[in-house]
Every structure is written in structure tokens, then in C-alpha cells.
């Protein structure tokens, strides 16, 4: 799992320090000298040096990541408190490459004692040990944003939070002590706040604001599309405020938390879990801390691991833990429950797409849940074809994970892989080799999971698990079949219309020529035309009107569709900007 990877790469760095000592045993002096330069580095220091891992590799992306992390947290908090979210985002230009962002929500607020840790300590959070479908996972994001702001401007984060209408709001100015990975409180007070409850964060950071595909504007828009129950009030640094009002008061069903499934657990995680559990024996531990392990399965696992079921947990050493992992692999265990996943639903997904794109044809599919490495997940997809979508160019892909838009690293994403592995030619689109198909298509793919496997902490691309790619392919194949049905029908209707126009064009000529040869009257000629029409169209039956009607899509929101579209810079320029950074 991703969290393990992070920790592994982190601990590897510290472990490396041991190696020179071992190698140079003969020269003690040198070893001691080296040892002096070795010291523990904090996770905060590590990320300070590797900010790209968290999505702060350039100024443009830093702005997006900061806003994204704050909005994700707000949405999670609101949903957990069963509140219809209303979130405002404000960006103010403070100087060259210097911006202030303020994100405010109507969530439950944060109790006073937790505020410093949540915003100024990396890997602190409620979500890391949970397997639950939600936006945030690691408890890194918002504190990383605070750290980035502090590093680039020296300014602290300003937090205001209120948990009850009768209580005052708590105000903090916070920095991170990067060596200790601990909050540093710069200022602290209580304030009056007009809100009944909620949280407001203000950050200043080095950033650059641009429109286009990977902009904050695009993120805000896509967030509104995929979260129809959310109201977003967005003030970009230039131009008017944008209000994206919720289109439904129906909150998504609250996702339930599940315990880890044994198939998804690796040794490091297992040992960690044994350290924090309240269980006394190994059997209790299995039954209490995992999903899908009952008395019988627990016995079976322990038998397969050659461990006695009443073995005390404190007696389980590393070797026994490894045996236990082995035993789990050998035991047939029921797949995890999948009702913990809350899909958006094909219908709502399509409605969201209709807001953004005025197309002639839409189709959607919501797959049933599947499991990768013990984690349940589910793929949904929706496609728009033709209409106002430009005919030239590649398929336009919008990716979402747990209702969060993914704007970067499209090429590295399992979704992209699944689409490219699909043969779109058979569905009526052009495609050269295993590339993105060409044509007037916008495709939305959503993955929902208790744990979305991202390729990095920046949460930009989904890792290539075969089970996930397979499900993505099945989803887009189903969508492709629907598309091809539509295109075939359209072609047939087109041919038919052409034939009918043929009839209309040439019937008068037949009547004219016959009249010229046979010299009959004009009224007779009209009769011939009428009879011919009847004769030729009799066999053809009624046809459906498949012409694109731009007014047919009542969900289409022109103002919303425009957001993020007007590029100030071409993509080339923005790439260059990225390199310069």
C-alpha cells in the first residue's frame, strides 16, 4: 500500500546510514567521523526536500494542490458531519508570483486542541488508519500546503474554526517545525465569527495562476460536476466571483468504514496493527481487527500458519508474523464486503457530464464492486459524443477518484492505460495503435475505493493494479458498445435520409420527363409526383430524428462549461513555465 511505500522509502534513507559503519569496521576512526554526520531526519524535512512527491513541483501546481487539499478536507468533514457542504475559495494576488488563498467551509469545525496538529504536523489525521471511501487518505496534504507556504513566503497559516454556535471561534497562526515535525504556534486567540460552525484557512504562498486544463478553475468546475450536492463559491484572482450552486439536496450515502481484509495486509502493516490492537491472543486479533474472519476462518489461518490459536500477541515475533502472512495466503477467505463503496451512480454521473458538455449522445455505466489486494473498489464511467465537442483531436478524459478530480499525470494513470488497451476502432472511433482514440468524445471515469492506490502522495494518477485496469476496460467497453450502437444507428439514419432526399430531388424530374413525352396535364403531373412519393416511401417506414439539437440538453450549463476554458497561455507556454520553475 502507498503509505507503506512512503514509510519504506523514508526508513530506507535512514537505514542507509548504518551501512557505511558495517563496511568500514576496520577503520573505527572513519566510522565515528561518519557517524557524527548521521542524524535522524524528520518526515517534514524529507518532504521539504522532495516537495514534488506531494504535488508542489511548480508554482502553478502548488496553487492547485493547496486549494485541492483544503477543499478535499472540507468536503470530507462536511460529509462526515452529515452537512450539505458550502465551500468558498478565494484567491488574491499579493505580488509577483505571490498569492493568498482562503478556504472556508460550513463543516463541523475542529476542537481547539487538535487544530495545531491537523494543520502543522505531517501524517497526523483521522484517516490514515481507516479503510473508508473518502477524499483524504494520508493526513499529509493540508500540512504539506502549510509547510510549502511557510517555506516560500515565511508566513504562517491562519486558521479559524468554530464547533458550536454558542462557543467562540478559535484562531491560530501556525508554522511547522520541520526538524521535529511538530506545530509551532505563532499566535493564538478566540474570535467572534458570524458562522455557526466551520473552518477557515488562510495561506500565503509562492504560486502562479493560469487558466486551462490543469488550472484551479478546472478543478473547481470538475469538483462541482462530480459533487452535485456541493455549493462552491469561487473568487479567482481576476474576474468575477463564480457561484456553483448545488443541484441536489440529496447527500451521498455516508460511506462506512471497513476493517482491512487479510489479503491486502503486508508484514509491516501486520506488525503495526499488532502493536495497537486491544486483542490479547492471535486468534482474537484476527477476528477483531480484520474483515471476513470468523471463528472458523481464524482457526484455518492459524492451522495453515502452524501457530497455536491461544498464542499471546506479545509472543508473536517477526518470524511468526511472516508465517501468519503465509497462512493467510494459503487460506480461502471470503472477499471483503463491498457495500462500503458509495458510487455516484450512472445517472448522476451523466447529469454532471451534461452540465459540462453539450453533446448529441450520452451513455453511462456503473460497474459492480471488485477487489484489488483486499480493497473493494468500483468503476463508473460516462461518455459524451458529438454535438458541440470539437471533431478534431483525442478523446478528452476527465478522471476522478473518490469524487476528487485528477488533473495531472494522465499518462501515468491506470485509467488512461485501460482506455488505450481498449480497441476503439470496433466502436467507431479512430485509433492508431494503442493510443488514445480520436474523435468528438468526452469520457469521465470515476474510481471509488476504501483506499485509492495512487502512484504518489500527490494523488494524481492511479496505480496499475491489473484488477483495476481490467474493471476500467470492462467499463469503457460497455460504454464503447453503447456508442457503437448509437453510431451505427446514426449512420443508417443518415443513409436513409440521403435516399429520401434523393427521392425528393428526382421525383419531379421523372414527372417532368414523362409529361414531356406523353404531354399530359399539369394536374396529372402533380398526381404522378404524389403517387411516386407514396410508392417510393411506402417501403421505407418512419425514421428517428437524430439531428443534434443543442437545446435538448436541459442540464447543460454554459457558464459552467466556460470555466477554465479560456487559456491565457498555450500549453507550450505553461510547459515552459513548469521547466523554468
Amino acid at each position: 500500500m502507498e503509505d507503506n511505500q512512503t514509510l519504506d522509502s523514508f526508513s530506507e534513507k535512514t537505514e542507509k546510514s548504518d551501512k557505511p559503519e558495517k563496511k568500514t569496521k576496520s577503520s573505527d576512526a572513519k566510522a565515528h567521523e561518519l557517524a557524527k554526520s548521521q542524524r535522524e531526519i524528520s518526515i517534514a524535512e524529507f518532504f521539504e526536500k522532495n516537495r514534488h512527491l506531494l504535488g508542489f513541483d511548480n508554482k502553478r501546481k502548488a496553487l492547485l494542490t493547496t486549494i485541492k487539499e483544503a477543499v478535499d478536507n472540507s468536503l470530507d468533514a462536511c460529509e462526515e458531519a452529515d452537512v450539505l457542504p458550502e465551500i468558498s475559495v478565494e484567491i488574491t494576488e499579493m505580488g509577483t508570483d505571490r498569492y493568498k488563498v482562503v478556504i472556508e467551509d460550513n463543516g463541523p469545525g475542529i476542537i481547539k486542541s487538535q487544530i495545531p496538529k491537523i494543520f502543522a504536523k505531517l501524517l497526523y489525521g483521522s484517516k490514515f488508519h481507516k479503510l473508508k471511501m473518502q477524499r483524504g487518505q494520508q493526513g499529509i496534504g493540508i500540512s504539506a500546503a502549510v509547510m510549502y507556504g511557510q517555506l516560500t513566503t515565511g508566513k504562517p497559516a491562519k486558521i479559524l474554526s468554530k464547533i458550536h454556535p454558542d462557543e467562540p471561534a478559535h484562531y491560530y497562526e501556525l508554522k511547522i517545525n520541520t526538524q521535529k515535525n511538530d506545530p509551532e504556534i505563532i499566535a493564538e486567540s478566540t474570535k467572534e465569527w458570524h458562522k455557526e460552525n466551520g473552518t477557515r484557512i488562510e495561506l500565503e504562498l509562492e504560486a502562479s495562476y493560469m487558466k486551462g486544463n490543469q488550472s484551479v478553475d478546472e478543478y473547481i468546475k470538475e469538483t462541482a460536476i462530480i459533487n452535485p450536492h456541493v455549493t462552491l463559491i469561487y473568487q479567482p484572482p481576476k474576474g468575477d466571483q463564480i457561484m456553483l450552486v448545488r443541484v441536489t439536496d440529496k447527500k451521498p450515502k455516508l460511506a462506512s468504514e471497513i476493517k482491512p481484509h487479510p489479503y491486502g495486509v503486508e508484514l509491516g502493516m501486520l506488525i503495526k496493527m499488532m502493536q495497537v490492537t486491544t486483542a490479547k491472543t492471535i486468534k482474537q486479533f484476527l477476528m477483531q481487527d480484520f474483515s471476513r474472519i470468523g471463528d472458523k476462518t481464524a482457526e484455518e489461518i492459524l492451522e495453515n500458519s502452524s501457530i497455536l490459536s491461544n498464542t499471546k500477541l506479545k509472543d508473536i515475533n517477526r518470524d511468526l508474523a511472516e508465517k501468519l502472512i503465509d497462512g493467510i495466503r494459503k487460506t480461502k477467505i471470503m472477499m471483503p464486503p463491498t457495500d462500503c463503496i458509495v458510487p455516484i451512480g450512472a445517472e448522476l454521473l451523466e447529469k454532471g457530464l451534461k452540465k459540462e458538455v453539450n453533446a448529441e449522445f450520452y451513455t453511462s455505466v456503473s460497474r459492480s464492486p471488485d477487489v484489488y489486494r483486499g480493497n473493494p473498489f468500483l468503476i463508473e464511467a460516462s461518455l459524451a459524443y458529438g454535438g458541440d465537442i470539437p471533431k478534431e483531436g483525442s478523446l478528452n478524459l476527465m478522471r476522478f477518484a473518490n469524487r476528487v478530480p485528477l488533473l495531472y499525470q494522465q499518462g501515468a494513470c491506470a485509467v488512461t492505460e485501460g482506455i488505450m488497451q481498449t480497441n476503439w476502432k470496433q466502436y467507431g472511433l479512430q485509433q492508431s495503435g494503442s493510443n488514445m482514440p480520436q474523435g468528438p468524445v468526452v469520457l469521465v471515469v470515476h474510481i471509488a475505493s476504501v483506499w485509492v492506490p495512487f502512484t504518489s502522495e500527490a494523488k494524481e494518477a492511479i496505480a496499475h493494479y491489473p484488477e483495476i485496469i481490467k474493471e476500467i476496460k470492462l467499463a469503457v467497453q460497455e460504454i464503447g458498445r453503447n456508442l457503437s450502437k448509437y453510431l451505427n444507428k446514426k449512420r443508417k439514419v443518415g443513409d436513409e435520409l440521403k435516399k429520401r432526399s434523393y427521392i425528393e430531388i428526382y421525383i419531379p424530374h421523372i414527372a417532368d420527363a414523362l409529361k414531356e413525352i406523353l404531354k399530359y396535364s399539369d394536374s396529372d403531373k402533380l398526381d404522378v409526383e404524389k403517387k411516386l412519393e407514396k410508392l417510393l416511401e411506402k417501403t421505407r417506414g418512419k425514421i428517428e430524428d437524430m439531428k443534434f439539437d443543442p437545446t435538448k440538453n436541459e442540464d447543460y450549463d454554459e457558464d459552467l462549461a466556460k470555466i477554465g476554458k479560456d487559456n491565457y497561455y498555450s500549453d507550450e507556454d505553461s510547459d515552459k513555465e513548469d521547466e523554468d520553475d
Binding site: K499, Y502, Y506, L514, E516, D527, V528, K531, L532, L536
Partner: protein
């Protein structure tokens, strides 16, 4: 004339009645290709096998139907006013027909050929004539034509054109002939015709010279046929010694073409004989040659394989194989190697005597 008018009116009436009665109208015409002809050895021409294509009026055929009827109406108009239109002119007339107009002359030509085949009349009877003229005539012949204005007979003496010649009109049906000549010499190239005319070869040999100018037009074929029938003349053919001369020019003159097989009966000259230049002439007269081109070789193979006329004559198969073996071809003008007048003084007189060197 009236046959064409009757056919047009009756066909139109049939279609009209079908439409009125709510039936699907049909047009039926013979398939126009070599597949649909056989060589009638007794009468000596290509005859239709009887494959017909039937077109029912549907959305798919409505355009062709409209165009066919339009051309029929035009034809009726031409015949009634005793007017004519060249194929090219007819194509331009169609430009008045809006969406039913022809995009290429090929299309209008094809519709014309279909109507012709459908009615079993020839194009000239429909009022449509070829774009190019029908060939040149010189020699002991008086053609009796009518003055276009007065309708009185005109006698045209084909010995009186000096270095020029009489031009075959597009419609030869009403011409009459007077002649004391012994035979007609049909010549492939105008160049050779001019040479023979200049030396008044027609006087020396007592014959009528006809220049075909390549593949003979229908008018030219019909003219030679009518002249040979009416005035009981033999027809000798003199072309280049190459596959084009044999298969395209001679064969078409003698037995007709696959494309217009429906009118072959009257547009061929079954009694025509091939005088030269034969493959053997190339050796016998030591003629300068050119190598056979790829298209020549293809033509020979095609003729041997698909041409019902060649298949009927072993002598022609041998000739073609002989030419193929030589890999060479010789033009009429190659005779000039032995002197410009060699063709008049030696070649033609000798060939006329040696009938055994001719081909069927």
C-alpha cells in the same frame, strides 16, 4: 424513325401506367459487355447472349430513372423536329436539368447506350450522333445524298475531291451509291490514305479508299457495310501490324464490339478480309519494327483468352501467337523503308494477288 418514337412513347406510357396504378415501374436492357456476346459464325458478327439487367424504380434507382427518362424526352424532341445532337451536345443539354444533370459525358453516353440497347435501335435513330466524324472516302464512287434545305438529291462524285476527300456523315441510312469499283480498301491511318489518294491508287486498282482513322466509328462501319451490301463490294482491310490494328480496329469493323452488341448486326462488315500488315509480312518485307509494348502483350493475351472472334479462327490465334513470339510490331508507314511509293508499286499489288497471305 417512327420505331424510335414508338419505343420512347410506349416505354414512357408503361412507366406512367405503373405509377398511376401504384406499381413499381421497371426498365430492362441487355448487359453491354463481351460477357454477353457470342460470335455468330453463320452471319459473321457478335450477337447478344441475352443477359438482361432489370432496373426497378426504388429510392436507389430513382436518379438513373429520372436521367433515362430525361434523355428519352430529349431524343423524342430531336426526332420529332428532325434535329440531331452530338453526344457532347446532349451532355451539355443535361446541364439544364438541375440535380438530374450529368457530371461527366461518360454518364450521359452510358445512359444513351442503355436506351439504345433497351429499344434495339441505333443511337442515330434516337437523334444522337458521334462527336467525331466518320472517316474519309476517295475513289470510284458516287454518293447520292439529299440537300438539307431543299430535300433534292445531290450526287457526290468521290473522284472529284482532288487531294481532299469526302467525309462520311453521321447518319448514312438514306445514302444511295453508284460505283463500278471492284473493292473497298479500308485503311487504318489517314497518313496512308493520303499517300494512296495522292497517287490516285483508287484509279490504278479500281477501288474505293476509306480512311477509318483508328477504330472505325459506327457511321464508318455502317457506311462500309451499306456500301458493300448495296453495291456488292468486297472489303479489304489494311492496318498496322500490331494487336491494336488486329483486335481493336479490324475485329470491331468485321464483327462489332461487345459494348454495343445490340446494334452489331447492322454495324459490322462480316465479309471484310484482313490484307495486311500480317505478322508474316514483317519478315517477308523485312520491315523495320518496334518491340511490343506491355499493353500490346496484354491485348494479345486478352484476345486469345476472351475474344469470341479470335477463339473461332485458328488462323488468328496463330497470327497473334506468331506476333507474340516475334515480340515486335510494324506500322503501315514502315513500308516507306523500301521507297515512298513502294506500297503503291509493290506491296498492295503483290498482296492483292497473294490471297493466301491474308487473314480471315
Amino acid at each position: 424513325m417512327t420505331k424510335a418514337l414508338d419505343k420512347i412513347t410506349n416505354t414512357a406510357k408503361g412507366i406512367y401506367q405503373d405509377i398511376k396504378a401504384g406499381r413499381k415501374a421497371e426498365l430492362e436492357a441487355p448487359v453491354r459487355s463481351l460477357n454477353n456476346v457470342f460470335y455468330n459464325e453463320k452471319d459473321g458478327f457478335f450477337e447478344l447472349k441475352g443477359l438482361n439487367k432489370k432496373r426497378t424504380l426504388t429510392a436507389n434507382t430513382v436518379k438513373t430513372f429520372a436521367q433515362t427518362l430525361r434523355v428519352m424526352a430529349l431524343s423524342k424532341n430531336l426526332v420529332e423536329t428532325d434535329d440531331i445532337a452530338t453526344k457532347r451536345e446532349a451532355y451539355y443539354v443535361s446541364k439544364n436539368w438541375g440535380e438530374a444533370r450529368f457530371k461527366e459525358q461518360m454518364e450521359s453516353d452510358s445512359v444513351m447506350d442503355d436506351i439504345e440497347a433497351m429499344f434495339g435501335v441505333n443511337r442515330e435513330q434516337l437523334g444522337f450522333i458521334a462527336d467525331e466524324h466518320g472517316g474519309s472516302v476517295a475513289g470510284e464512287l458516287i454518293v447520292i445524298d439529299k440537300d438539307p434545305n431543299t430535300g433534292k438529291d445531290i450526287r457526290i462524285d468521290c473522284t472529284q475531291f482532288g487531294s481532299g476527300s469526302y467525309s462520311i456523315p453521321s447518319d448514312v441510312e438514306n445514302l444511295k451509291f453508284e460505283t463500278k469499283a471492284k473493292f473497298i480498301l479500308a485503311i487504318e491511318t489517314n497518313g496512308m490514305f493520303e499517300r494512296l489518294n495522292k497517287h490516285t491508287y483508287w484509279k490504278k486498282a479500281n477501288c474505293i479508299l476509306v480512311s477509318m482513322g483508328g477504330v472505325p466509328t459506327r457511321a464508318c462501319r455502317r457506311f462500309i457495310r451499306k456500301l458493300s451490301d448495296d453495291a456488292k463490294q468486297d472489303v479489304y482491310v489494311f492496318t498496322d501490324g500490331d494487336p491494336y490494328g488486329y483486335l481493336n480496329i479490324y475485329r470491331t469493323l468485321k464483327v462489332g464490339s461487345g459494348n454495343a452488341a445490340h446494334i452489331n448486326e447492322y454495324f459490322c462488315v462480316p465479309k471484310a478480309k484482313f490484307m495486311g500488315i500480317t505478322p508474316d509480312d514483317i519478315d517477308d518485307y523485312k520491315l523495320p519494327t518496334h518491340p511490343l509494348k506491355e499493353v500490346d502483350i496484354k491485348r494479345i493475351k486478352d484476345g486469345l483468352k476472351n475474344d469470341p472472334f479470335i477463339q473461332a479462327y485458328k488462323s488468328w490465334q496463330d497470327a497473334l501467337n506468331n506476333l507474340m513470339k516475334k515480340g515486335k510490331r510494324a506500322e503501315q508507314q514502315a513500308l516507306a523503308k523500301h521507297g515512298l511509293n513502294f506500297v503503291v508499286s509493290d506491296y498492295l499489288p503483290e498482296k492483292l494477288k497473294k490471297r493466301e497471305t491474308w487473314l480471315e
